[in-house]
């Protein structure tokens, strides 16, 4: 169970379908709380990623690493081996890349060579589309970059396979159709990619209930599930989410007793 913290200028924010942001608090404070509640990992996404905010993010990472002793991934605006090194040195365990990987896929292998595949998470933001020339249902997914603003034409399933083949150690699959809607994961998207992936797949985008988490693991075949607003809004603790998943038959590290 991975709580996700979208960070804008040093604050945790959350939006619907990548827009309409609200303030959800201090990242280090939230990270500490989720660690205490039994989160297995954390993901920080720097959603502005301008050069000014980069220093802010490195500071957030460094302060988090002083007090949080579970693995955490930092993504957003990572464009080079040097960007990644800065975040890893500040205490991140893994870096997430998205736009830069689509622009220049060789970056994936460069990061894997330098730091090991276990440090390299490729985030794939995917939106449903109709296959070219077809009418009816949208049965394919297209990769979007730049925080969901830019369509790339790239097929998300083929792209995910390519990423794993060249050195990604983990895939973070976000359904843009579902993100922030609280309607549940796009299970077909998650499952299609997870079934083809030799590396762990994290399902993201759309969690509104604890059943959605269970579905992501059992029907979506995800190795881990990611959620944001259900925790930020205080509806559920991470411990409650994990206890629920455990009862539903998902293999989880039990929530901490405290």
């Amino acid at each position: 169970m991975i709580p996700c913290l979208d960070v804008d200028a040093g604050r945790v924010v959350k939006g619907v379908r990548f827009v309409d942001l609200f303030d959800a608090g201090d990242p280090v404070e939230l990270a500490t709380r989720y660690d205490a509640q039994g989160a297995d990992e954390l993901v920080f996404l720097d959603i502005t990623a301008s050069s000014d905010n980069r220093r802010t993010m490195v500071d957030v990472v460094s302060r988090t690493a002083e007090v949080v002793f579970i693995p955490f991934t930092v993504g957003g605006g990572v464009r080079s081996v040097e960007d990644a090194r800065q975040l890893l040195r500040a205490g991140a365990d893994k870096v997430g890349i998205n736009t830069a990987a689509v622009d220049r896929p060789a970056l994936i292998a460069e990061l894997a060579d330098e730091f090991g595949s276990q440090c390299v998470v490729v985030a794939v933001d995917a939106r449903r589309r109709r296959p070219e020339g077809a009418s009816g249902e949208a049965t394919e997914w297209e990769v979007f970059t730049h925080g969901g603003r830019t369509p790339t034409g790239v097929d998300a399933v083929a792209w995910s396979e390519q990423c794993a083949a060249v050195g990604a150690g983990e895939l973070l699959i976000t359904s843009m159709d579902r993100d922030g809607t609280r309607d549940g994961f796009d299970l077909e998207l998650t499952r299609t990619i997870a079934e083809r992936s030799p590396v762990p797949v994290v399902a993201s985008g759309g969690v509104g209930t604890l059943d959605h988490l269970v579905e992501g693991a059992l029907e979506g075949s995800a190795d881990a599930v990611l959620a944001a607003s259900i925790f930020h809004l205080g509806e559920f603790t991470v411990g409650e989410a994990k206890a629920y998943m455990q009862l539903a038959g998902v293999s989880v590290r039990p929530p901490s007793p405290s």
Binding site: E66, I70, A90, A92, Q118, V199, D223, R253, P257
Partner: protein
Amino acid sequence: MIAVLDYGIGNLRSAEKALQHLGAEAELIDDPERAATADGVVLPGVGAFGRCAQALRMSGLDGAARFAIGRGVPFLGICVGFQLLYEGSDEDPSASGLGILPGTVRRLPDGVKHPQMQWNVVEIADGCDSGLLGGVPDPAWVYFVHSYAPERTADTTSTCEYGGAITASAERGALWGTQFHPEKSGAVGLGILANFVRRVDEACA
């Protein structure tokens, strides 16, 4: 002072910060002479065995590690730092480890994902009185990131199940090692590191 050996490999900060969080006086040390006088030594490591073995030798910290272990200074190897205590590794047969613990580091079994990158449960070996794992809850969940692990030997004190029983920790006197990352294993991991800090304090007293 606990020396966290800094030989230019990966993220060594987490181990240092976790020890400091526990109140220990931990420092990243790249000077072999200073490392040789530490009250406790932590050898972390991430990445490839061969590259780590070479970097450790180049830094001159291999001698400091041997010296500390020879004097019975409390010593903790983590992940590849743990693997380096053995004779060698399937990952790079041309590289040799410190050879302090007998045995070879083996590739994880086929049929499971490589690397193992997940939380898993450690099972303490039968009849083993583990100082390292003293007081940990049962089951104890810890975080692993690895494709290789030392073969099981008389020094093995715990295992995890991953396509078979895999060495999770080993102990020989004051020399301890974990294949998992205690500095990334939440409260359980901090408890294990606290056992090490206590051991260092007792050895100093």
